[in-house]
Structure formats: C-alpha cells, structure tokens
C-alpha cells in the first residue's frame, strides 16, 4: 500500500510541469481573443499540430518495431475511418495479438 501511495520527486516535478503547461494552453485563449486570427499558411500549420504530434509519438511502434505492429497499424488505420474510437482500439489490440501469434513473435 505504501508503494501505491509513493511519489518520486522527479515524477512530481514532471507532473507539475505538465499541469502548468497544459493550464497555460487552456487559458491562453482568454487573453488572445480578438488578437488571434490565423489565416492561410499559419492556420494550416496550426491545424496540423494535433495529427503531427499524435503520429510522432506512436510512429516508432508502427514502423520500427516489427511486421506484426506495422500490419496491425494499417488495419487499425482502416478501422479508424469507419468505427468509433473504442472499436478502433479493440480492432488494433486483437489484430496485434493475432499477428504476433501467426508471425511467431508473441
């Protein structure tokens, strides 16, 4: 139980930094209203941020781990175009388990 409640100093610092940065992004809009009108190229760059970041985080698993993960990522991508989020996760998990078993990497 004490282990469950333990908090490491570095972890606490990381969480505090993440929380501060996140809150800053959430209230920034309150101060930027009327001064913040992105158009054209700048807007295209800003709109690309979520997808660029999300893909950057998981690309090593998708492309640099093994054939099972790469194929499962393609299957998951196809599912994501049609299914709700939870179903997408289920398809991804089931396909990676099957592919690892079939390819003998499990």
């Amino acid at each position: 139980m004490t282990e469950m409640l333990s908090v490491q100093p570095a972890t606490l610092a990381a969480i505090a930094a993440m929380a501060a940065v996140t809150y800053a992004t959430r209230i920034a809009g309150l101060f930027l209203v009327g001064r913040f009108n992105l158009t054209g190229r700048a807007k295209a760059a800003f709109d690309a941020i979520p997808a660029a970041v999300l893909v950057a985080v998981v690309a090593p698993v998708m492309l640099a781990t093994g054939p099972a993960e790469t194929i499962a990522a393609l299957i998951t991508g196809a599912a994501a175009a049609r299914l709700p989020l939870l179903a997408v996760v289920a398809v991804g998990v089931v396909s990676v388990v099957l592919l690892r078993a079939v390819l003998g990497l499990g």
Binding site: L5, T25, I27, G29, I49, V58
Partner: protein, 231 residues
Amino acid sequence: MSSTWREARDGLSDISPALVACVPIGLLYGALSAGKGLSLAETALMSMSVFAGGAQFAAVEIWRTPAPVAVLAFSTLLINLRHVLMSASLAPKTGGWASWQRFLGFYVLADENWAMAERRAARQPLTPAYFFGAIVPFYCGWVVFSGLGAVAGSFLGDPKRIGADFAFTALFIGLVAGFWKGRSTAITVVASAVASAGAYWLFGPPWHVAAGAVAGIAAAAVTWRPEGERA
C-alpha cells in the same frame, strides 16, 4: 434555482456518451501507467492535475525513470497547443461568467466537453451550470477510472501478453482520424511518421516526438495552397 438545475442536468445528459467511453480508456491509461512504474498516487495525481488524455497517454509512452521533466513538458505543450484555439473560440461565449468560473472551467477544458460547449453555444447561451454539470462527472470519471486502472494494472503483469501495449498506438490512430481533413492531414501524417521513425532509429527516444511533430507541421505549411489555386 430550478433553471440552474435544469441546465446542469442538460450538461450531464449531453456528456453521458463521453462518460461511458472514459471508463475503459481511463482503466487502460491507469494500467499502462502502472506498467511504466508509476504508483497509484502518481497516476491519479496526473489525471487530476493535467486532465488531458492524449498528452497523458503520450507521457506514459515516453516515460522513463527518473522522469525526463523537460521532454515530458515539451511533448505535453505540443500536444495541448490545440487548447489555445479551443479556449480562444469559447472565450467570447463565456463573457457573462464570473472570472473564477472561467478560470476554473477552462482548467478542465478537454476535447469532449469543449465540443459539447460549442454545440450548446450555437443554440443558446452557454451557462456555467451547463458547463459544470457536464464536466464534474466527466472529470471524476477520468480520475477514478485511471486510478482503478493503476490498481488493476499492477496485478495484470506484462501488458504485452494481451496486446495492451498496442492499445495506445491504436487509440492515437483513432484520435488522428478524428482530426482528419483530407489531403493536408495525409501529408502531415506521412511526414510526421517518416521523420519520427527516422529520428527514433538514428537518435533514440525522446527525439522522435519533436522531429515528427516539426516535420508534420512544416509539411502542412509548405504544401498549403490558397483555395483558388487548388487543382
């Protein structure tokens, strides 16, 4: 008083699908977090103070011990920059709120409740009662189920056995689909994936996050064309 109550109930009713979805996603986040060695207290503390699913999943993915504070803060900033646009868009619609209501309410602004608030504001005035009626259960759900996931996860053992290690890859692919805007997103995704995997191979983690993000954003900016010039 009764109208405040009605507003809060509308909020609860509108958020309920997202509330259901946050049960398994929260459990999954908690289990992955425990798998990376975070304690129950640390997992719950992150959910309470950061309260941003995408950034939290990313943080757990790149987590090492001891925690790389600057890398985690930078990754969180990049992933959450979209909040700037979300809050800027919601700011004029909350002009009648008290300051504390805005600063408390925007603390828990997330994709799901932001989208709901925008939908509400398009039809009728957005009241604090509606906003908090939606966010209080959603916030509690995320914290409680990520905590339960951390407890369950420490008993589950190796997440790879049941494919759970791939769950956030799949979740992120699903989230990207939610941001899909056609050709420009496809260009962003390809550039980010190639640069990230390349940087991971050359330099190792955590450089792949910044490399992929910068490449994806740059690709979207470089290939942008004014409306009239599109083929």
